[in-house]
Amino acid sequence: MTTAFDILLRLLLWLLLAPLVPGIINKVKAWVAGRRGPPVLQLYYDLAKLWRKGVVLSTAVSPGHIAGTAVAWMALVLAALLLPAGPAGAPLAFRGDALLFVYLLALARFCTALAALDTGSAFEGMGAAREVSYAVLGEAAIITALIALSLQTGSVSLTTMLAPAAGAGAALLAAGLFAVLLAENCRVPFDDPNTHLELTMIHEVMVLDHSGPPLAAVLHGASLKLLMFSVLLVQAVLPAGELSPLTAACALAGSVLAVAVGVGLVESLLARLAFRRVPLLLTTAFLLCLFAALVSWRGGHL
């Protein structure tokens, strides 16, 4: 009973903290641009508003449209259950959960893309096509990063894999995972979460026809995914398992904040890449992870 309560509590923490990250990123962007910017809690207000609003559905959609959104959201929430959060560890840990984590993200992608195609819109088809195509390279990079961590620790469970520092390849791994974070969460330079020009977008264009509570689920899921990738990146590099719980928690929170600030700075300072350049950048991310894996294989020294 206590374990169930424990799991529920941690899940609640994940769900509640997630919308904070986009708020921080937007604040950083506003600061760099010299604006005051929206409040950090803006996404919470948006979610609350959307949850109360009515839904406008396309006449073309099937009942699967809303179901797909819901399943994608649930897949992301359940993936959060597998990810350890510093000293608290993961609510659920078993051998091979790292792969389940990756495939739950894939399930979310599958459902989001199908929900987009459901509307029959050419724009959303374009977005879905881009999403699933670039995810191929992103997935190669993530699996390679898992290989690097597994070579380091000899384990296939996220809790053990993420406990020690990533060794000599840490810088490579961090760079690779950061690029994957930007790509998977559709940030600049891969995609621009702020534009509303349908032809140039990936993720935003897939959710053009969502509204009301389903759109709230999409937005919350996206922020949760961003938080998960930040936590994953931070813990891959940070020796969270070797610090005292309090220091580890502080270090984790501080580093996630740093990642959010980093994303904000990247968005302020870089322009979006041309689409034909995206695969090159993702291949670079894959190679960074691959070289991190090879460094781990050589026993952590160059």
């Binding site: 819109s121 195509s133 191929v136 384990s155």
Partner: protein, 649 residues
């Protein structure tokens, strides 16, 4: 009842079905399904008890006494055959009716039973000569089933290609069994792992069984044959018949010693098949051809598991090998189940619309909700997504690969690219099935036929529901099926008889249950919330364009365009485009077609080269006696020259 009696019932049922196929189709159906149930029971008995059933008679065929054997491995494949055979029979009743196909339906039923019976026999005979006989019968009966619509040219071409490729494979198997018999002195098959001189024969088996399994680049016959056969035949060919090649590889790599390189070659071919299979699938616009290429991909995943198991066995039975093999074997079942489901779904679409062209379909969920739902279920499974069965087997293979990593050494060097490319394969398969489901079932109908589609009847729906349920069952409770996998892998490698399921499998099953339950709950909750807040219907947002038509939807080709661009070096798509360039363009068109590269760029040029050389050589033989005498004279002169040159020794 013991397996022996059950198998006898199954065999008799098949024979009764064969006879009654022409007159009484209800008797045919009853006999065939009874025999499938009996075979399933026999397989379950063996898999549960872990014992081997052996049947010997003094009755001889071809001078060899009959020797049948149903061990864990045979039973594993027999269970799949029985389930898919039964499901396909019921489906065929409504799909290939006597009204629509007055001639081909009756004989098709008879050939169907010949195919099922001989595939069953391939699994249980333990005599090389008899193996070859039933193998040949199985191959030929499949040819007659593929060419049901013989009046269409492409069907005949597909049939011929299948027959030629199959016989090239059978030729290798003839050589394999003949060499085996020559070495051992008789045709009896069984474990002979200690006779190391037999190891090189594995390459013959790999070529022969590899052609049947359709691994890259021996898959040339597969796409056209599976696409042009009736859908229930495609289901059995893709679900079971190509698994006979896998069965042969597993069987004989277990019974015979293998060369040191075998595991590496098998795993390498597996990776190649997996990635390129799905890449070719992405380039297709024909629904059934696309599914056929996915068979190449899944055979690749199975072979990755088998290859790493062989490496582990060569490395002293490392534990990770068992995981890889378990993943590979479970994927045999899984692929059989979801691929049959998908082919039956595609058949239902074909039945309702009369076309396999994905770009003419769209929006079918309105008229065919059952087919759409079940096909999407199969798509989730084949993309290897939790909580369904495809993920369980891919996960086991992944675990084997990751454990191989911690063993370091050369196998770890192979495990890194294999794991990365397996992940890439999964992501590509996902892209491909998003394309299929989205283009065929979602959106708006792109043509008249798609608008007027109708749902299939219950005889076609029930087999799909059965297969879908099996997919869900393996996904949610993988632990229940673990003993069967252990029994099968113990038949392959007697050292691997550990019966306890790996602990994470139980957790994974529980987690899958949670995923399924929470997903359903979330969908329900979100739907209720939306209903509560009020739903308004309006047209899809089209960026302000005034007159959107269904033809403006993203098509299959445009959806896959980015990825097929990456693989252009091997796909070599043919393009015919007329690009508009004047201010008021009158005509513009764009066509892209991905041919079978290996066939058109390797096999056909090689074939025409052989033809040219042969034609040139044929000119030597023209029937003029004078010239023949000249040849004799030249030959004599050459001999004399040789004698003069070498005569000094």
């Amino acid at each position: 009842m013991t397996p022996g009696w059950l198998l006898l019932v199954a065999g008799l049922g098949m024979l009764i079905g064969m006879v009654s196929a022409f007159r009484a189709k209800r008797v045919w159906l009853a006999a065939t399904i009874t025999s499938a149930v009996a075979a399933l029971a026999a397989a379950a008995w063996v898999l549960k008890a872990g014992a081997t059933w052996v049947g010997r008679t003094t009755l001889a065929i071809g001078g060899e006494p009959i020797h049948l054997q149903l061990d864990g491995l045979s039973a594993f494949f027999l269970a799949l055959l029985a389930l898919l055979g039964g499901a396909g029979s019921l489906y065929a009743m409504a799909y290939w009716t006597d009204q629509q196909h007055p001639v081909s339906a009756t004989s098709g039923r008879a050939w169907w039973n010949v195919l099922l019976l001989n595939m069953g026999l391939v699994l249980i005979v333990a005599n090389g000569l008899h193996f070859l006989i039933v193998w040949e019968l199985f191959t030929v009966s499949a040819y007659f089933l593929i060419t049901r619509e013989r009046h269409r040219r492409e069907v005949r071409a597909a049939g011929w290609l299948y027959l030629a490729a199959s016989h090239a494979g059978t030729l290798c198997l003839f050589a394999f069994f003949a060499c085996l018999a020559a070495h051992t002195g008789n045709w009896e098959l069984g474990s002979m792992r200690e006779r190391m001189e037999l190891a090189p024969l594995f390459w013959l088996a790999l070529a022969g069984f590899g052609l049947k399994a359709g691994l890259f680049p021996l898959h040339i016959w597969l796409p056209s044959a599976h696409a042009n056969a009736p859908s229930h035949v495609s289901a059995i060919l893709s679900g079971v018949a190509i698994k006979m090649g896998i069965y042969g590889l597993v069987r004989f790599s277990g019974w015979l010693p293998v060369p040191d390189l075998a595991g590496w070659v098998v795993a390498g071919l597996g990776v190649l098949s997996a990635v390129l299979g799905v890449a070719f699938a992405l380039g297709q616009h024909d629904l059934k051809r696309l599914l056929a290429y996915h068979s190449v991909e899944n055979i690749g995943i199975i072979l990755i598991g088998l290859g790493f198991a062989m490496m582990a066995a060569a490395n002293g039975h490392a534990a990770w090998g068992q995981l890889a093999l378990a993943g590979g074997l479970l994927h045999v079942w899984n692929h059989g189940l979801f691929k049959a489901l998908l082919f039956l779904g595609a058949g239902s679409v074909l039945h309702a619309t009369g076309t396999r062209e994905m770009s003419r379909l769209g929006g079918l969920w309105r008229s065919m909700p059952w087919t759409a739902g079940l096909f999407t279920l199969g798509a989730v499974a084949i993309s290897g997504l939790p909580p369904l069965n495809g993920f369980v087997s891919e996960w086991l293979v992944f675990l084997g690969l990751f454990d191989a990593l911690s063993a370091r050494g050369a196998t770890a060097g192979a495990a890194i690219p294999a794991a990365v490319l397996l992940g890439v394969t999964g992501a590509l398969a996902l892209a491909c099935f998003v394309k299929v489901c989205g283009v065929v079932f979602l959106g708006l109908p792109r043509s008249k036929v798609a608008e007027q589609a109708h749902e299939c009847g219950w005889p076609m729906r029930i087999p799909m529901i059965v297969l879908g349920t099996a997919c869900v069952a393996i996904g949610l409770a993988p632990v229940l099926f673990w003993p069967a996998i252990v029994t099968a892998s113990a038949a392959w490698q007697p050292f691997w008889s550990e019966t306890a399921a790996p602990a994470p499998l139980l957790t994974l099953g529980a987690f899958h249950l949670v995923v399924a339950a929470l997903a359903a709950l979330a969908a329900f909750a979100l739907w209720r919330r939306a209903r509560h807040n009020g739903i308004r219907r309006t047209g899809t947002w089209d960026c302000g364009y005034a007159a959107p038509t269904p033809r403006m939807q993203y098509t299959a080709g445009s959806f896959a365009g980015i990825i097929t661009g990456w693989f252009r070096w091997i796909l070599r798509p043919e393009r015919h485009a007329r690009i508009p360039n004047e201010p008021f363009p009158a005509h513009a068109k764009f066509e892209e077609h991905t041919p079978e590269t290996v066939l058109e760029h390797v096999i056909e040029p090689a074939g025409s080269l052989v033809m040219r050389v042969s034609t040139a050589v044929r000119r030597l033989q023209h029937g003029r006696l004078q010239a023949y005498i000249l040849y004799l004279l030249i030959g004599l002169a050459a001999l004399a020259l040789v004698a003069l040159m070498g005569g000094g020794k």
